[in-house]
């Protein structure tokens, strides 16, 4: 199916259902506006997010990936968020290897009630990706 392309850039946010996904909901509750180009994929824990998911996202043509999990020491599964952090680091270096700027992937942590933080992260990441896009050589 063809869906109309979202306002560029395309950003995928993998959101832990324990925290970040709820923070995204909270942003909606509070009617906080953030760029509509963010596509949320809900996961049970940040520890479910795989380096491969991030790489595949870039294969599909996304411009940026956010990995959003619980604050440190607040993971329902103890170290899921720490694992996610390490995997984001790994993904950054794998992407650098193929010439994609590692700053296109970032991990942030949030609490379920941090709607404003979610909106800020979404906006800042969008700005960051726009800036990186503008630095890309044309043609």
């Amino acid at each position: 199916m063809k869906v109309q392309k979202a306002t560029s850039p395309n950003i995928i946010a993998f959101c832990c259902a324990q925290s970040a996904y709820q923070a995204a909901d909270a942003a909606g509750f509070m009617r906080l506006s953030y760029p509509d180009n963010i596509r949320v994929i809900r996961v049970p824990c940040a520890g479910r997010i795989d380096v491969l998911h991030i790489l595949k996202a870039f294969e599909k043509g996304v411009d940026g990936v956010l990995v959003l999990g619980c604050h440190e020491e607040a993971c329902r599964h103890l170290l899921g968020n720490i694992r996610a952090k390490n995997r984001v680091q790994k993904a950054k270096s794998l992407l650098q290897e193929v010439g994609i700027d590692g700053r296109r992937v970032e991990m942030f942590t949030l609490a379920p009630n941090q709607g404003p933080r979610f909106a800020t992260i979404a906006s800042e990441m969008t700005e960051r990706i726009k800036e990186l896009d503008s630095m890309k050589p044309q043609g």
Partner: protein
Amino acid sequence: MDKDLKLGIFLCDCGGTLSKDIDFSLIKTKLDKLPDVTFVNIGHGLCLKAAREAMQKDIKDKGIDRVVIAACSPEFCENDFMNVIQAAGLNPYLLSIANIREQCFWAHPDKEKAAQKAIAQIGMAISKARFLEPVEQAEAPVTKEVLVIGGGITGIQTAIELSNLNLKTTLIEKEAALGGKLNRLASLYPIQAIPQELLATKLKQLAERQNIDALTSAELIDISGEVGNFTARIKRGKKELERNFGAIIFTTGYDTKFSNQAYGFELSDIIITPSQLEPMLMSTSEVKEIPGRVCFILDVGDEHSRVSTISALRNALGVRQKFGSEVSILCRNLKVDSATLESFYRDCRSQGVLFIKFDKPPKISNEDGRIRIEVEDILMAGQPISLPCDLLVVEETSVPPRDSDVLSSALNIGLGPQGFYQENNVHLYPTLSNREGIFFAGNCHADLDMMRALTEASNVALNAYQLLSQGKVTVEAERVAIDPGKCRFCLTCIRACPHHAIRDVRVNHEKMVAQIVDLACQGCGICTVVCPAKAIKFKDWSDDQILAELELVEG
């Protein structure tokens, strides 16, 4: 991915609030054209009873085999809709939800863009739906018996609470008598009772219960098995016994330790710890000479704990009442964290206990068999005070009981930075360990006063009750499952599972492979990711589903 699917899409405009600016029928028209979409319906409140019944009917009538719901956040509606489609005869996991309320219409004021995003999100949900798989429910039997480790007041109370809930309980205590610290304390806080009398009452209650087996001089050797079906080996004298339990509760409490390194001097006849003072207060006849002035000192090493604050206040009052001595408490800053403790502190003051607060640790010297304390009192603008005293009571720090580390590594349960047991998530699940079916109560994992410890005792008993009361629990069977053919038995998942829910088994008595224990699995998906052979499938968060969602991202 199944070839011929019958997708049913249910849109909800949330009582018309979402369709104010956007025509949902336009969205419906787009969705209608998609392959495999059998049915698209616009509802005005899918959370209403009538709408649900209609949905069930539609599912049945149209032969829908995958349900996509576009409504509010799955955080609110997922469980409900799972029940709805289950009632319609579908496996509840054949459901995919697009969040078009919180994460679309509520977040994006530009309704056109919000609608575009909604369509994209629905597209992602449809894409995911193609890869959904049923997850079956299964019943797992559980042993309706609980092991409580540690026979102090928390353990005793936990056993009594479990007994009240009709759960057979074995309470083990490594010492020869139950009661732990209650045997050795001179007073209690906040209960105004003689500790030994309170203990006697509790022991009497314990003895009356048919379903509590209290074993003293008993130590845990090891525990095998998983939640619902643990086997504990317990050593009692020369005998060793083996029993099965459905749940295990740690109430091992804490030990105390005086750190002479922090103080820079050793204990003596006139420098003692609270543990040495309490027996003197319990039988004053043993005290040869009544001390004229007694000083308590806190905060020389680390900041004092709740336990040591209470100890200092209780004993200061005890000394004041039993000996009539002059009593001072020297501390950096007394921390009272409840109205009850505040009033206890006021009591101490009104009964003549002096509080001296310092910034710089006091100088303590020995002078002709007496102690001289030199301190700058910050309440008196740092004025130096020279305080002679006959007895100095230093602070003891709480340390984990001696074999905590052995038990924790044997059972794969975590220890926190100070070596006490670490809760699964201290904020959300204060009495849960990282392993299903193993719980903590009392001071083995937190710095608690007695009332708080007793509250935890009843909480934790309810935790165990919830798990065991039916003699069986319903679990999702193989929700996360390891393909034995692909498993290389590299142990990566077994090492990585935060809940120790993966064990090794032999398939057909031949090949060793890892297998997930459904009852212990808490569904985080960490194993799925770490597996280097990609042998682990998380059925309702599979790679296929996640990648299918990505599929729709590009325009």
